[in-house]
């Protein structure tokens, strides 16, 4: 299967509580907490779409949208 291509980091700032789990565990250090303690994708170009941030987020506040997933789900 081809490597998924990142479209965007969909971040729900209302749900994000700034716990820092996604930032800490991102293998490519893509994520950071901004001055309001909400996560932002500081270096999206480095994202490898591993989705560990999405899977480990306690608040369901971050979603990795790839080119593939923007097509309607089968």
């Amino acid at each position: 299967m081809a490597k998924p291509k990142l479209k965007e980091h969909l971040i729900n700032r209302e749900w994000c509580k700034g716990c820092g789990i996604c930032v800490h565990f991102c293998p490519k250090a893509v994520l950071e907490l901004d001055d309001q303690d909400k996560v932002v994708a500081a270096r999206p170009e480095d994202c490898i779409c591993c989705r560990l941030c999405e899977l480990r987020c306690p608040d369901l506040a971050i979603e990795i949208v790839t080119e593939e997933t923007t097509r309607p789900e089968a």
């Binding site: 509580k17 716990c19 820092g20 608040d59 369901l60």
Partner: protein, 267 residues
């Protein structure tokens, strides 16, 4: 995010603290449910009292938020009432194993087809950080300010001895394993127990100087290992993760259906 189909969005953001492991368990569990492809109308979630048990309010299934320690008793009634339902019971360590210990043992003994998810954060979080039966010797809590003298026990061994036919353990660090285990636990026909080591950074973590949520998850990574691994043989203190028991034995509702058939042919 497809798992958003399975939540009651109007009640988000949820009430758990920043970094609470229960949110991760919910996340993994919803991924498991999504993979299973059941209709939401076929799922009943029964929980007790505590931070863990609040999960039922947030998910879009038939949900039953009961009283402290008694979730499995309610769930037994639901399952016997309508055995076709998939009954999932998330509970905290205190809820399932302190006040609920008796019901835990007997649900396992009956091998009734219910999936128990014990979210073990080693503390009573909702009430402000008292120790639980699984806190462990020497830990600090609001009711053990001078150090806990209670020892815990091995939930997997207890479940196994009581008769559970599916027993597994994972952690909130190991999300992919956790989701896979939950999926298998739900599919399993019989009493399934999944113990999840999860973090309470606000109370257990803070009182026992274990760092923030991410650091507590690192602790899960460093202090657990796969069942029977070389690392375990070298260091017995490591906690094993994986599926301990998975066996096919008579399930309670099916056995009772036989009783009904037997009774009805006689009359």
């Amino acid at each position: 995010m497809a798992i958003k189909d399975y939540i009651r969005e109007r009640f988000f953001p949820h009430m758990w603290c920043p970094g609470c492991g229960h949110g991760i368990v919910m996340n993994s569990m919803l991924h498991a449910v999504e993979k299973l492809g059941f209709s939401k109308n076929e799922i009943v979630m029964v929980s007790g009292i505590g931070c863990s048990s609040r999960i039922s309010g947030y998910v879009d299934f038939h949900t039953l938020h009961t009283i402290h320690g008694r979730a499995l008793a309610f769930a037994t009634g639901v399952k016997l009432g309508l055995p076709e339902l998939n009954v999932i019971v998330p509970m905290g360590d205190g809820d399932a194993l302190a006040i609920g210990g008796n019901h835990f043992i007997h649900a396992a003994r009956r091998n009734i087809d219910i999936t128990a998810i014990v979210m073990n954060n080693r503390v009573y979080g909702m009430t402000g950080g008292q120790f639980s039966p699984l806190s462990g010797y020497g830990t600090k809590a609001t009711t053990a300010p001078l150090g806990n003298i209670d020892h815990g026990f091995d939930v997997a061994q207890l479940a196994t001895a009581a008769g559970a036919s599916f027993v597994a353990r994972s952690t909130t660090y190991h999300v992919q394993q956790l989701s896979d285990i939950i999926r298998k636990a739900i599919l399993h026909e019989g009493f399934s127990v999944v113990e999840v080591l999860t973090q309470c950074p606000t109370y257990f973590g803070r009182k026992n100087k274990m760092g923030d949520a991410a650091e507590m998850m690192e602790w899960f990574k460093d202090n657990t290992t796969s069942i029977g691994s070389k690392a375990k043989k070298e260091n017995d203190a490591l906690i094993e993760r994986g599926i301990f028991v998975q066996k096919n034995i008579p399930e309670y509702c099916e056995e009772y259906d036989k009783i009904i058939a037997h009774a009805m042919e006689g009359s």
